[in-house]
C-alpha cells in the first residue's frame, strides 16, 4: 500500500513536469508541493516511511481503475480555469536584473508597459531591470515610483505599445472560501519566461500584518494558501475569473525555512490602484497617518487616546475620548481595523470619518497626513536599495525559530558559483536596444535622479501629459494684461469682481475692494480664511494657462486623488509659489482644472476653490461658477457673467477675438 502511495506521488510529480513544459497549467502547483523542492522524492518518501507505518485504506491505482467520464460541469469548470490562467499568465511579468541575475515577479496593468511589483523586488536592482513575459521575450525596464512602506513599486517596460494587461478586479469583494491563483516566478523557475501558477483558497481577508524589519507594513491584505514562495514577490494574485485582486509579497515562515507553509499575503489591488498614479509620479512615496491614536476599551469602543492639535481631524472637531465609528465607510471595532483602512490610502487623500462625541454623531472627511519625515524615508530607501546582489536565501537550519513576524520572501539570488539564471543576453530584445545595451544603457535617458524621487524622469512625463491634455483649449494671450472676471454671489445680488495682473490682484465684493501683491503676501489672507483667496485661485488659474505649470514655480506631479463630493480621481500637481503651495486637481480626461487648494502650512486649513462650471470658448477655458471653501465649509459661490482682458497691452496676433467674451447665461 505504501508503495502505491509513493507511486502515485511520483506520477503526480512527473505529470507536473509535463504540464509545466506544455504550458504551466494547474499541475504546476503540485510541483511545488511534491516535486519542486525535492525532485528526488526525498520528502514524500520520508513521510511514507518514517511518519507513518503501514498505510491503511484502499488507494486504487490509477492504472487499474476504470474512471467514469467526469461530469460536464466539472469539465466546464476546468476549461474556464485553464482559460483564466492562460489569459492571466500573459500579463504576469518575471523581473530580473539587467544581467539576468536575481528575480522576482510583477504584473503588467497598462498597454504601454507599466508594471506593479514589490518595492523589495525592485530595490536590489536599483533603477534598471529586465522584465520577461510569456511571449518569450525580455523587455528593458526602469523603475518609476517606489512605496517603501506599502512595499510597492511601479516599473515601466519598453518595446511594445500593446503589452497584455491584467484585468483589475475588486479586492473589496474577496471573501474567505473563494478560489484564487497566484502567478509568478518562484525560485526563479521562470527562466523560460513561462510563469508558474499555483492554485489556492482565500484563507483570510482584511488582515493586518505588523511592520517587518524596518517599515514594511501590510494593511488590509489578503491571506491565501496558494503557494507563495521566494520569487513570487511582486507577482499577481488573481481570483477564479482571472481578475487581478492582489500583489503577492509576504509569507509567514517561522521555523520551517523560507518556503511556503500555506500562508501567503497579497497587498489588495484596491490599495495598489490607490497608489498607482502616485507611483507613476516617480516619487519616493510615503504612507498616511490619521493624526490621532486610538484605544479600545473593555466594551469594545474605539476611542481617541491622543490627537495632534495640528491635525485635520482636530480641526474637523475630533477630540480626545470621542468614539470612532466608521472610516471610509467601514465599521471600526478594533485598532487593527482602523490601521487597515488608513494603510490603503496615500497621504493628503481625504477619507470619510464618522465619530461620536458626548452629544452628537458627526460625519466629516479628514485629510490624511504623512507618516514619515522626508529624511526618514531617505534613510529607509538608502538602507533597502543596493546594486549588490543579496545574500542567498537562508537554509532552514539558519532560520531563526522564534521570529514571530512574517517575513517578505526575498527575491531569489543565484547561489555563489552558479551561472546567472535568466535568458541569454540580448534574447528577445528589439534590435536597437539589444545591440546598444552593451555599450550604453538604452534607457539612460529614462532615468533622472532628484532628491525625493526614485526616478524624476517620470514626473516630467506625467506633467507633460497634463499640459498636452489642455493644449487644444489653452490659447491664452501671452502677455501681462489684466484678466477681469465679473459676476454675482449666487442667490444674492452682490457684485463680485476679480482683476488679476502680474503685479496686483484686486478683489471686489459689493462695495469693498482689497488689493494684494500678485507674488507674495498671500499667507495672512489665507490663514484668516479671507474671501480674497478666491482671487488668488483665479491668479493661479491664469498663470497655469498662460505660462504652464513649470513657469509658475516648482511643479511636482503628485498622482491622482479624490475630491470631496466628486466621483473618480483627479490628476494632482503641487506648485510652490513663494510661501504658498498650490495643489491643482485636473480632470484626467480633459486636463480642465477642477479644484485649486492653497496651503500656507500643515497646521491650518487650505483655501479650497472649486471650479464647478467651466465654459469652453474660443480655445480657452473660463470659470463660470467658482466656489470657495475652508475645511468642508463653503464660504462663497460666485456665478461669473463676464470674462475680459483689459486692453492696453499687445495681444498675440489672431487672438483678439478672445479678448472680450461674454460668459454663459
Amino acid at each position: 500500500m505504501e508503495k502505491s502511495i509513493k507511486t502515485s506521488i511520483a506520477r503526480t510529480a512527473s505529470a507536473g513536469w509535463i504540464g509545466y513544459a506544455r504550458g504551466f497549467h494547474l499541475v504546476a502547483a503540485w510541483l511545488l508541493v511534491f516535486g519542486g523542492l525535492a525532485p528526488d522524492g526525498v520528502h514524500s518518501r520520508a513521510i511514507g516511511q518514517s511518519a507513518t507505518d503501514g498505510l491503511q485504506g484502499e488507494v486504487p491505482s490509477p492504472l487499474q481503475t476504470t474512471q467514469p467520464e467526469p461530469a460536464p460541469e466539472v469539465l466546464q469548470a476546468q476549461k474556464q480555469r485553464i482559460e483564466a490562467m492562460r489569459v492571466a499568465s500573459q500579463a504576469t511579468v518575471g523581473v530580473f536584473g539587467v544581467d539576468g541575475q536575481g528575480g522576482g515577479s510583477g504584473v503588467c496593468i497598462t498597454p504601454d508597459g507599466y508594471v506593479l511589483t514589490n518595492f523589495h523586488v525592485s530595490s536590489p536592482f536599483g533603477h534598471r531591470m529586465r522584465c520577461g513575459l510569456n511571449d518569450g521575450k525580455m523587455y528593458e525596464a526602469v523603475v518609476a515610483g517606489i512605496d517603501p512602506t506599502g512595499d510597492l513599486a511601479v516599473l515601466k517596460m519598453y518595446g511594445r505599445e500593446d503589452f497584455p494587461v491584467a484585468k483589475i478586479g475588486d479586492s473589496d469583494r474577496v471573501r474567505v472560501g473563494q478560489w484564487c491563483f497566484a502567478a509568478g516566478n518562484p525560485f526563479v523557475l521562470a527562466t523560460n519566461l513561462q510563469p508558474t501558477v499555483t492554485y489556492g483558497l482565500i484563507s483570510g481577508v482584511r488582515r493586518y500584518q505588523y511592520p517587518a524589519g524596518t517599515i514594511l507594513e501590510y494593511s488590509d491584505c489578503i491571506q491565501t494558501d496558494a503557494a507563495i514562495n521566494p520569487g513570487n514577490s511582486g507577482g499577481p494574485l488573481f481570483n477564479a475569473q482571472g481578475e487581478l485582486i492582489g500583489i503577492n509579497g509576504r509569507c509567514s515562515f517561522e521555523k520551517r525555512g523560507r518556503v511556503n507553509v500555506g500562508v501567503g499575503y497579497a497587498i489588495s489591488i484596491r490599495q495598489a490602484m490607490n497608489f498607482f498614479w502616485h507611483l507613476r509620479s516617480g516619487r519616493v512615496l510615503d504612507h498616511a497617518t490619521l493624526g490621532f491614536t486610538v484605544a479600545t476599551d473593555a466594551k469594545g469602543k474605539v476611542t481617541v487616546s491622543n490627537i495632534l492639535e495640528s491635525s485635520d481631524a482636530y480641526r474637523r472637531g475630533l477630540r480626545y475620548g470621542d468614539e470612532i465609528l466608521r472610516l471610509d465607510d467601514r465599521q471600526i471595532g478594533t485598532t487593527n481595523q482602523l490601521k487597515n483602512v488608513t494603510g490603503i490610502f496615500p497621504p493628503q487623500w481625504r477619507v470619510a470619518l464618522r465619530f461620536r462625541n458626548e452629544t452628537d454623531t458627526v460625519d466629516t472627511a479628514i485629510r490624511l497626513q504623512n507618516l514619515h519625515l522626508p529624511s526618514e524615508l531617505e534613510e529607509i530607501v538608502k538602507g533597502e536599495s543596493s546594486e549588490e546582489p543579496r545574500a542567498p536565501p537562508k537554509s532552514p537550519q539558519q532560520e531563526p525559530e522564534d521570529t514571530p513576524n512574517p517575513e517578505s520572501p526575498d527575491t531569489e539570488q543565484p547561489k555563489p558559483g552558479e551561472p546567472p539564471k535568466g535568458a541569454p543576453p540580448g534574447r528577445g530584445l528589439r534590435g536597437k536596444e539589444g545591440a546598444s545595451r552593451k555599450e550604453k544603457d538604452s534607457l539612460a535617458d529614462r532615468y533622472e535622479t532628484k532628491r525625493g524621487f526614485s526616478n524624476y524622469y517620470f514626473n516630467r512625463v506625467e506633467l507633460d501629459r497634463i499640459v498636452a491634455l489642455q493644449k487644444p483649449r489653452n490659447q491664452w494671450p501671452k502677455s501681462d494684461e489684466a484678466w477681469v472676471l465679473s459676476g454675482t454671489v449666487v442667490g444674492e445680488t452682490t457684485n463680485v469682481q476679480t482683476r488679476v495682473t502680474d503685479g496686483v490682484i484686486g478683489f471686489t465684493l459689493g462695495d469693498k475692494t482689497e488689493s494684494v501683491d500678485s507674488k507674495r503676501g498671500w499667507t495672512p489672507w489665507i490663514q484668516q480664511q479671507s474671501l480674497v483667496s478666491l482671487a488668488f485661485a483665479l491668479r493661479t488659474w491664469q498663470q497655469w494657462h498662460q505660462s504652464g505649470p513649470r513657469m509658475m514655480g516648482e511643479a511636482i506631479y503628485i498622482g491622482r486623488s479624490p475630491l470631496v463630493g466628486r466621483t473618480g480621481l483627479f490628476d494632482t500637481t503641487r506648485i510652490t509659489l513663494g510661501e504658498v503651495d498650490s495643489v491643482i486637481y485636473t480632470s484626467p480626461e480633459t486636463g480642465t482644472i477642477e479644484c485649486i487648494e492653497l496651503f500656507t502650512d500643515n497646521q491650518s486649513d487650505p483655501a479650497e476653490i472649486y471650479f464647478e462650471k467651466v465654459q469652453r470658448n474660443g480655445g480657452r477655458e473660463i470659470p463660470e461658477r467658482v466656489r470657495l471653501a475652508f475645511g468642508l465649509e463653503t464660504r462663497l459661490v460666485v456665478d461669473i457673467a463676464r470674462s475680459e482682458w483689459e486692453p492696453g497691452t499687445v495681444l498675440d496676433s489672431g487672438k483678439e477675438d478672445a479678448g472680450k467674451e461674454k460668459g454663459g447665461d
Binding site: I47, T52, S252, R256, T334, T335
Partner: protein, 354 residues
C-alpha cells in the same frame, strides 16, 4: 542551591509578574457582534463561502502560557456540542488558571479545563454561555483518502480580536497510525491520524478544525510534528472516532486527571527523598520543572534530569509544582510510579522505582 531558571519559565514568570499573560493580545480587542457584517449579499456568495463562513464561527482563538522559543502561547480550539465545551490540544498553553478564549466576533471568554486525555493529547475546556454553535462529534464522520477537506485554525496567530481564523484547503492523503520511533517523532499519541496534503500544522494551528465539504467536523488538527531525521513536518489531524472516544472518556471521568479525589497516604513520596529539587514556587502555577537531581538518588537512577518538565504522574496531569506535590502525596513511598517528562522538545516516559 544554584538558582537556574530555564528560558521557557523565565518568560512565563515575566508574564505572570506583569499580571498580564494576555499581553500578546494587546493588538486585538473586543469588537461589536455585528462587526463581521461587511458581507456581500448572500445570493452572491458561493456555497463554499457560506460553508467556511459558518464553520469559522465555531473555531476559537486560545491564549495561555508560553511565548518562548518554539513554545507558542496561543493555539486553536473547536466549539463542540451545545457550545459550552471547547475541544483543543493538550499543551503547555493550557498551563494557566483560566484559558483566554477569543471568539470569531471578538468576545473574550475565560475557560476552565474540564479534563484532559493525555493519550490523545486532547483537552476539553468549559465556557458557560459562549453563545457559540458547536460541531457535532459524530464518530461516523471518518475522513476518506482523496477527500476534499478544509482546515480552520489560527495558525501563526494571524487572526486577532474579531478576525476569523484562517481557512486552508487540502486533500486527505492517508489514514495511518503515527509511529513513535524514539527521537524521530515526538508524540504521545500513537494512534491513527488523518494525513493531509496542505501545511496545516503550523504554530498555533493545533486544536483547530478539519471539516469536510458538508461542513462536518472530521478531525482536530494535531500538534506540530517533525521527523528529526528527515526534517519533514507532518500535517495531520486526529480522526473523529478517536476524538469522540476521547471526549467520552474525559466527560465520564475515566480520563480525568484530577488527583483531588484520591486520598493522601500516610507515608507518601517526597521530593527530597526522591532526590529532586524543583524550581522555586514563585507564581500561582509554577510548572513542575526539575531544577536539579541529587546524584545517586532514586530520581537519578530512574533517569530524571535537571530541566525536565514533569507533565504526568501515573497518568495524572501535573499542572503545577503544587499539583505534583499533591499527586505524590497519594502514592505510597514503597510504590513505583510512571512520569512523563518533556525534555527539550522530546517527551519521555520514565518509571520511577524506589
Amino acid at each position: 542551591m544554584k538558582f537556574r531558571v530555564p528560558i521557557f519559565l523565565a518568560v512565563i514568570i515575566a508574564e505572570f509578574l506583569a499580571n498580564a499573560p494576555m499581553q500578546s493580545l494587546a493588538r486585538e480587542s473586543f469588537g461589536p457582534v455585528d462587526s463581521g457584517a461587511e458581507r456581500i449579499d448572500a445570493s452572491e456568495e458561493s456555497d463554499l463561502e457560506v460553508l467556511l463562513g459558518r464553520a469559522e464561527r465555531s473555531v476559537v482563538k486560545l491564549y495561555g502560557a508560553g511565548g518562548a522559543r518554539g513554545l507558542e502561547s496561543y493555539q486553536s480550539g473547536v466549539v463542540v456540542g451545545d457550545g459550552s465545551l471547547i475541544l483543543t490540544s493538550w499543551s503547555t498553553v493550557l498551563d494557566v488558571d483560566k484559558v483566554r478564549v477569543v471568539t470569531f466576533d471578538g468576545r473574550r471568554l475565560d475557560a476552565e479545563i474540564a479534563g484532559v486525555d493525555p493519550q490523545c493529547e486532547l483537552a476539553l475546556l468549559r465556557v458557560p454561555n459562549s453563545g457559540l454553535l458547536g460541531f457535532e462529534l459524530d464518530p461516523q464522520n471518518i475522513a476518506k483518502i482523496g477527500q476534499r477537506v478544509f482546515a480552520i485554525t489560527n495558525l501563526f496567530g494571524i487572526a486577532a480580536g474579531n478576525e476569523a481564523c484562517s481557512s486552508q484547503k487540502g486533500v486527505v492523503m492517508a489514514m495511518s497510525p503515527l509511529t513513535t520511533r524514539k527521537g524521530a517523532m515526538k508524540t504521545l499519541y500513537q494512534g491513527r491520524v488523518v494525513v493531509v496534503d496542505v501545511m496545516t500544522n503550523n504554530p498555533g494551528a493545533t486544536g483547530g478544525a478539519l471539516i469536510d465539504l458538508s461542513g462536518r467536523l472530521v478531525g482536530i488538527v494535531g500538534k506540530e510534528l517533525r521527523d528529526e531525521q528527515a526534517g519533514i513536518w507532518l500535517n495531520y489531524a486526529l480522526p473523529m472516532d478517536v476524538i469522540k472516544n476521547s471526549v467520552d472518556r474525559i466527560l465520564s471521568g475515566q480520563a480525568n486527571m484530577a488527583a483531588a479525589n484520591t486520598q493522601a497516604v500516610p507515608q507518601p513520596h517526597r521530593l527530597n527523598d526522591l532526590g529532586i529539587a524543583l524550581i522555586p514556587d514563585v507564581i500561582p502555577k509554577t510548572p513542575a520543572f526539575i531544577d536539579w537531581v541529587r546524584e545517586d538518588s532514586i530520581a537519578a537512577r530512574s533517569g530524571l534530569k535537571s530541566n525536565d518538565l514533569i507533565l504526568l504522574v501515573n497518568d495524572s496531569r501535573v499542572d503545577s509544582r503544587k499539583g505534583l506535590e499533591r499527586i505524590l502525596s497519594t502514592i505510597n513511598r514503597g510504590d513505583s510510579f510512571a512520569v512523563l517528562v518533556q525534555r527539550g522538545q522530546e517527551l519521555i516516559k520514565i518509571q520511577v522505582r524506589p
